[in-house]
Symmetry: C4
Subunit: 207 residues, 4 copies
Amino acid sequence: MSEAFERKETGRIEAFSDGVFAIAITLLVLAIKVPKASDLGAGGSLLSALLALWPHYLAFVTSFATILAMWVNHHRIFTFVQRSDHFFLYWNGLLLLLITFLPFPTTLLAEYLLHSEAKVAGAAFAGTLVAIALTFKGLWHYAAKNVRLLTRSIDPKDVEQITKQHRYGPILYFTAFAVSFVSTEMSAGLCLCLAVFFGFKGWPTRD
Amino acid sequence: MSEAFERKETGRIEAFSDGVFAIAITLLVLAIKVPKASDLGAGGSLLSALLALWPHYLAFVTSFATILAMWVNHHRIFTFVQRSDHFFLYWNGLLLLLITFLPFPTTLLAEYLLHSEAKVAGAAFAGTLVAIALTFKGLWHYAAKNVRLLTRSIDPKDVEQITKQHRYGPILYFTAFAVSFVSTEMSAGLCLCLAVFFGFKGWPTRD
Amino acid sequence: MSEAFERKETGRIEAFSDGVFAIAITLLVLAIKVPKASDLGAGGSLLSALLALWPHYLAFVTSFATILAMWVNHHRIFTFVQRSDHFFLYWNGLLLLLITFLPFPTTLLAEYLLHSEAKVAGAAFAGTLVAIALTFKGLWHYAAKNVRLLTRSIDPKDVEQITKQHRYGPILYFTAFAVSFVSTEMSAGLCLCLAVFFGFKGWPTRD
Amino acid sequence: MSEAFERKETGRIEAFSDGVFAIAITLLVLAIKVPKASDLGAGGSLLSALLALWPHYLAFVTSFATILAMWVNHHRIFTFVQRSDHFFLYWNGLLLLLITFLPFPTTLLAEYLLHSEAKVAGAAFAGTLVAIALTFKGLWHYAAKNVRLLTRSIDPKDVEQITKQHRYGPILYFTAFAVSFVSTEMSAGLCLCLAVFFGFKGWPTRD
């Protein structure tokens, strides 16, 4: 098959994946439920009810930043991938499955952050992010090992840099997972920092 | 009309269909409801409540893999279809209707897998997949019979291979449907295997 | 501004609209709620509970076919529209507003079809479709009257045919609206027929 | 990196953003809940129950028009932006976060418009729009200050016009925010007017 055809095929996989990222990131807000008027109580105000929803805002922002960072990372990988095969499709499918699953642990974290079972929810959330980081590592390693999936014109320094990034990703998220057994808030905060400070590194800009 | 115009028109149908596939696959997670804190009970833990949701995870993964495999299959067909007419539009519309409907039997299966009425839910789920497989068969046969809907440059071996695939698809899903009257778990497991092991065969790669 | 730039701009409006159509059509299924196990009762079976949901299936299929037909119609108009201005944007925005609103009267129709207040629900459903048909008429008339929004290469016969189609559309949907005061089922059935038999006429194929 | 590559990269950010806009605008309708038959009461009719939902229709139309106007504005900015860097990505990400969040204050406004706590809901709604307007201002200023993010061929008059628009946007929305402490209906009405009358100014047409 021609190179142009192969480019177009990986372009299609990327466009489909982009759609899934965009939908998953927009569905997150559905988990934040408006407080019912009947639940406000006699003395309770709407303002205090809205402030009490802070775990939902934290979980929303964390998952939003995470999916956005994942999209940046996914796009970066696809900038260099020129061909696909069945195993690559499987890796990408597993990644999308975990991304679309993310709204569930996000809601779980939000609902249980102030509950005595918070640690289970925090571990489920951070654990899902560990799984996503490992899948990204697998996707990239598969594409990079089989050098034939990458563009011929790739700079070895770029390969090295992305490989390094995927070496640290799972370790950092595993740290957040371990921290969740000590403090759920700290674990969620660490996940937010990872998305905001490290996630956007991957965009192919010239600065 | 020019060939380029026709190509663009089928391209638009495919892009719209891709959007529907991407949204349907991402909506599946909305069916997995977070256990309510008030439902955990005195001795019940969140962990055990999460583990008890396994039918939802199974249904989620099965439908996710199925829609992804359907997308691969749909894309493969459209690689060879160059023109469209009203009947082709109808076939494609029927296919999209069934794909967007899939979240309903998926939730049904998840909610009733451990219930005494599990077999009805399993039959509804596998039955929907039979209907999808038959619609795919109809779509392809219509396009391939009316040779004028395919690209002129198509290899007869490709036509034969896709035709064969659509001969076995409905039979295999019908088997899953029949099995659902014996064991719902086995039927759902078979549907998952069909999506994972056969579904991705259709991607036009060169391996 | 150059013609290529204008083409690209209307292309963007169409792509955004396509996304809205694809999402609205896929959200329809969320209205079909799985029967709760606790609602099945002692003697009630899941099968009979599923069959009792037929108004939901009817409303789902009707709205699905309607949105798909609207998408075909929308695409047909945009095949001939080459430029846009603020009023055209307003017409298109009003159209999208009504399309995204459609899931609400759809659910209303499904929930009340067997209720004593069915006629109100049927009138709301058919009335929304009248509003959509009138908005399409307005969009087309605005684009066609201001000849400058259409491509220079348009065949006057095509203009005449689309104009005729938009003359009958509102009348036919108004008939369905009037019928809803006699029989909700007949009105919904008529809306389904209008979508299936007339809606797909507009696709620019060569048959 | 080549100019074509940079163009393609900002094109990707815009396409992803467009997807988020299209999904957020279509999700708004999910907040309008069909009145339950059991809630109609003995003498209450469906028609009066539907009319009583008017705060939901108002909130729906206001947010719909707002997101559409934001999309027009976003597209206008991206017509002139040719390159991106990390800070630009952050600004855009913050904008998308606020857009995807909008369905929450929209529902809040609808549910509490007739409640004694209406002012809190109105302030939350208008406050979110102030935040969006400020983020747009930040996004544009960052891109325009760093002249290198804009296309070289940009007309200084266009820059001036967009800068002026983003000077007034936050002030106008802040006015709506201030009004919300006097009258929630007036504040929501003002937000609707801002979206309908000022929002569409930005589309690059030739009228």
